[in-house]
Amino acid sequence: MFKKVLVANRGEIALRVIRACKELDIKTVIAYSYEDRESIPVKISDEKVCIGPSSSDKSYLNMAAIAEAVLQTNADAVHPGYGFLSENPSFAGVCRDLNVTFIGPSIPLMKYLSNKLEVKKRLKRANIPTILGSDGVVQSAGEAKEIARKIGYPVLFKAVWGGGGRGLRIVREEKDIENAFSAAREEARVSFGKADVYMERFIEHPKHVEVQILADKFGNVIHLFERDCTLQRRHQKLLEESPSPFLSEKKRKEILDAAVKIARILNYENVGTVEFLLDEQGNFYFIEINTRIQVEHPVTEMCTGIDIMKEQIKLAAGEKLNINQKDVNVKFHSMECRINAEDERFIPSPGRIEKLFIPGGPGVRVDTAIYGGCSVTPYYDSLIAKLIVRGNTRDETIGRMERALDEFIVEGIKTNIPFFKKIVSSDRFKNKDYDTNYIDRNF
């Protein structure tokens, strides 16, 4: 097992890594920006190294500074959290050169999986359902038109390299193909450094379901059931729950089996998330596989009682998976709201938190690094807390989420707590009457 893990992240996920390390008796070093010098992760980490000023590119994205911090502190592993350098094969390469473990999948695997089109082709050959689309990179607007005529409108342009909603363009009529094609290419180029895009048929009212995978270096693969991430705003997840309210028992089994099969085909290792779309008829299609710990991993932890972060660290250290599939069971229904520092128009609202009361009591978990008197800076993501609750049924879970949102007091900055109160108490949410476009169309 590792002796000392360097945490190359901030906020709640840095704290989450430190918590797991403490429970595993591993020392921690946090590499932090000057802006975060008074943060809780910096305060409770065993060691700390200030790696740069506020702006991410000079600190949390600064590979040389992080590498130097690794050398200074003799850490033997690096945890990248999510975002920042977590899916960057170059950074994994820096770690390899320093002879320390990058906590994530192997570099070749990361590189291979970042080519979404290639992965899709390979899985299609193995009879995994994928969305109808172009067979490769779309080279011209003319070619795009041809393909669109074949697969039928509406169609979607997607970046081959990267994700997170950037490089996406929906086209409903042939006349819009040309503009959309060049806009998608430009956005992909700016965001991921490569302009390549491919095409898929666009599903109008999809649900978004993902399966949590654990895999060791010895070929053992298990799933920890699914998470439903259908409630999104502009392709950003807002609320996740497990089990998915949209799956029949039969469909659930199919999708879980498919996810494990995909992980095996790709020789996947470490923790990963296999993402699927469900169409209006309940058919599911593979979208992509994420190689990092996900923001929403606590939903699965609350359902199953398995500590995914600790498992990830153990797997990265080369340990054999010591959980059998048959021992993994869904003990509870669980749900997460991503609490962001933003106003009613979803615009970031940094500032100083004056009064704070964090929900507690039965079935409530809050992952956060904020405290009364702390400042929420404009430099980073606006996620300030994850409110996760569990109950014995979906109804109990929703009731608990409502009361937890009610007692969550954050004064001094604006948050999306009022927005979540509306969503969670709405009939459409309670009656499972929504898809991934629900928020964009109604709020």
Binding site: C50, A64, Q72, R352
Partner: protein
Amino acid sequence: MDIKLIRKLIALMQESEITEFRYKDGDLYISLRKGQPQTSSVQSKPAVEKEIGKTDEERELVEIKSPMVGTFYRSPSPGAPPYVEEGQSVKKGDVLCIIEAMKIMNEIEAEFPCIIKKVMVKNAQRVEYGTTLFLAKRT
């Protein structure tokens, strides 16, 4: 200003639970507040910190901080004389030291003309972003 009086008032507040004091008599107006600098009292706090326990000269000194995490070296190579000594005057652009980060030697230059009053870090010591390397006096 009667600094002794102020000192006494501060001492009184220190040892009591009084958190705010305001006094006005004719033209004289004094206001003191204690605790929780987060709000508006921040205003005077850094100033007070500077005044307590620092000499006049120190108050005028400027901290030259490390712009990166790495290892601090005073001279270009082992055995060579240091770039700067305490008391030495430097021009803008003069090299003050080297910070080695990831095998790269980064020369740290003076951003303004000054006299180096104090070297704050030992040779070959590890420094972080923001570690104070030198105290200097602008010239």
